[in-house]
Amino acid sequence: MKKVFLILSILLLLLSCNREDIIEPMPYDNPEIPLDIPLGFPQLNSSVDGNRPTKYGVELGEKLFHEKKFSGNNTISCSSCHNRSSAFADNNVQAIGIHGRVGLRNTPPIQNLAFMKFYNWDGNKLTLESQPLVPIITQEEMNSSIMEVIGKLRNGGEYRELFRKAFGDENITPDRIYRSIAQYEYTLISANSKYDKVKRNEGEAFTESEARGYQVFQQKCESCHSTELFTDQSFRNVGFPPNTSTEEAGRARVTGIPADYMSFRVPSLRNAEYTAPYGSFGQFPTLKAVLDYFDNGVLDADNLDPILKENGNRILLIEQEKEDIISFIKTLSDSTFVGK
């Protein structure tokens, strides 16, 4: 009896020793990344407060952003269309997804989204966390499902550690995927263009053409492309040639309101130099083509923007003004942001 007891005790001791050896690794220190809010930028989207970027959250989000396993056949990642060198847009007329399928609209850039109240051309999403599911399931984009994606990420192995660092344990959940991608996107802030440096008195100055362009811009463009984001985030029908797809109704696609028909979110002009072509489905190959169109007159509509209606459905511009405006818009190019 005594012998049995002794052996048992030794076994127990050994077991407890083993246990201590495979103790959980210490949780990583995962500090919050402070967002540097550029001077004069509007307030953060309120959902940022519930999903503050962290060191490992952003790292994971960036990796996921470039992960082709998000598409049904592992060919398309977020970055396939949202390419850093094009200010996280691309230069296709309309987005091109899995199997070369052509999407409904032109890829919007991903920049300064932490300060936006609406996402996508029609503002159907109000938080970044709710956005990634759209491309994942859309047949013209990634044509997959979130559980299919998670299945692939679990198989890889490498992601378990990254999720643990970002969220405290190895669970790969839809919510964590959405949150980490949003965290990464929150950090994509562009405010280091020539325009910004001029505004901040950092020793740069506008050329004569840029200065003239800024003048004209303030008179003829700024009522919509306002604030330091260069968009007032309103939805407007500016009489561009319409997308004839039955899937397209502009903002009315979401709201069902006739007055919103073919209205689109005023796009930011930051980094516009890198994001040609322009318009909700890439109607215009160049900035010059956009300005020519406004100058020549836009299509009439019951809900055409009142500012255009008051001005005879056009924005009169002489050639010199167009040239100058384009020079000014190019001062909004942030070469460090696009990695050039």
């Binding site: 599911l133 696609r253 709201t255």
Partner: protein, 286 residues
């Protein structure tokens, strides 16, 4: 020893008797089958392609002849109301167990069996056409079965850009030259419609339907079968809206919230004055 054996036998005998009586005489619950009969007026619809000679043709109040090639809708949030007014919810917060896609081309989807309904007499049936906003998020992790059922290649009831379900999907043809019609409905609402504190934007296309049964459905030893007529004549000629496709008051392609509510109100009622839309109960078999 002897006494205890006697007691044991008695005990076992009682157990057997109890279990027998439960099975045979007093069930506590039974099934209720909802049978969906999709019609134009009183004629059950036959689907067909553009030039089909067998498809059921219907003529709208405005004189537009039309027929369908595809007809699907989502039913969820099912509740049975007892004669005493108490409501029995049927997995109303679980799309995997309480929601279904009625697909006119698949006979097996026209019967939806509600299991384990408590014994009793029921006088009303309530259900939703579509999915209520709080569950309408295409949450595959939470409801993998319904997500897969609705998203199957031959079903296509995911509204991808709205990250919700399609509530109805109707494909077909109208006018004598068989122009295409394609009517999809779904919700884009953020927050709660009619609540200024939460509502931010969008349209709620979910409609709650209330139908009073012509005879009480008696759940007991028998499993009742309730036949629900869905009269798609109402699509263009509804209680709320009279619709003319094309040059009239609606485009024949409804794939967005624009113009959609005309159709939604006709199919599912407009809420305040119409809580049945195209639905009615034609019979209850007990």
């Amino acid at each position: 020893m002897k006494t205890s054996t006697k007691y044991s036998i008695l005990f076992v005998a009682i157990l057997i008797l109890i279990s027998c009586s439960k099975d045979d005489d007093n069930p506590v619950a039974n099934n209720v089958t909802l049978h969906f009969n999709n019609t134009f007026k009183n004629t059950t619809i036959v689907l067909g392609d553009a030039t089909s000679s067998t498809a059921t043709a219907n003529t709208s109040a405005e004189g537009q002849v039309h027929h369908f090639s595809e007809l699907k809708y989502v039913i969820s949030n099912i509740r049975l109301v007892k004669a005493d007014g108490s409501e029995i919810p049927y997995n109303i917060s679980d799309l995997d167990k309480g929601a279904t896609v009625v697909d006119h081309s698949k006979a097996q989807t026209l019967d939806y069996v509600l299991t384990n309904i408590p014994v009793g007499e029921y006088r009303q049936l309530k259900f939703g056409l579509g999915v209520k906003p709080e569950l309408n998020t295409l949450d595959e992790a939470r409801f993998p079965n319904f997500y897969a059922e609705a998203g199957a290649n031959d079903t296509k009831m995911h509204w991808e850009w709205g990250t919700g379900y399609r509530f109805t999907k109707i494909e077909g043809f109208y006018d004598t030259d068989h122009k295409q019609l394609s009517i999809h409905t779904g919700s884009t609402v953020e927050g709660t419609n009619g609540e200024p504190d939460t509502y931010t934007q969008g349209v709620d296309a979910y409609r709650d339907i209330t139908l009073t049964l012509p005879d009480n459905a008696v759940v007991g030893r028998n499993a009742p079968r309730i036949t629900i007529n869905a009269d798609f004549d109402k699509l263009l000629s509804g209680k709320t809206n009279t619709i003319t496709l094309g040059a009239g008051n609606a485009t024949p392609s409804i794939h967005t919230a624009a113009n959609m509510v005309l159709f939604v109100d006709n199919l599912g009622g407009n809420g305040p004055s119409d809580i049945s839309g195209m639905f009615s109960v034609s019979s209850v078999e007990n």
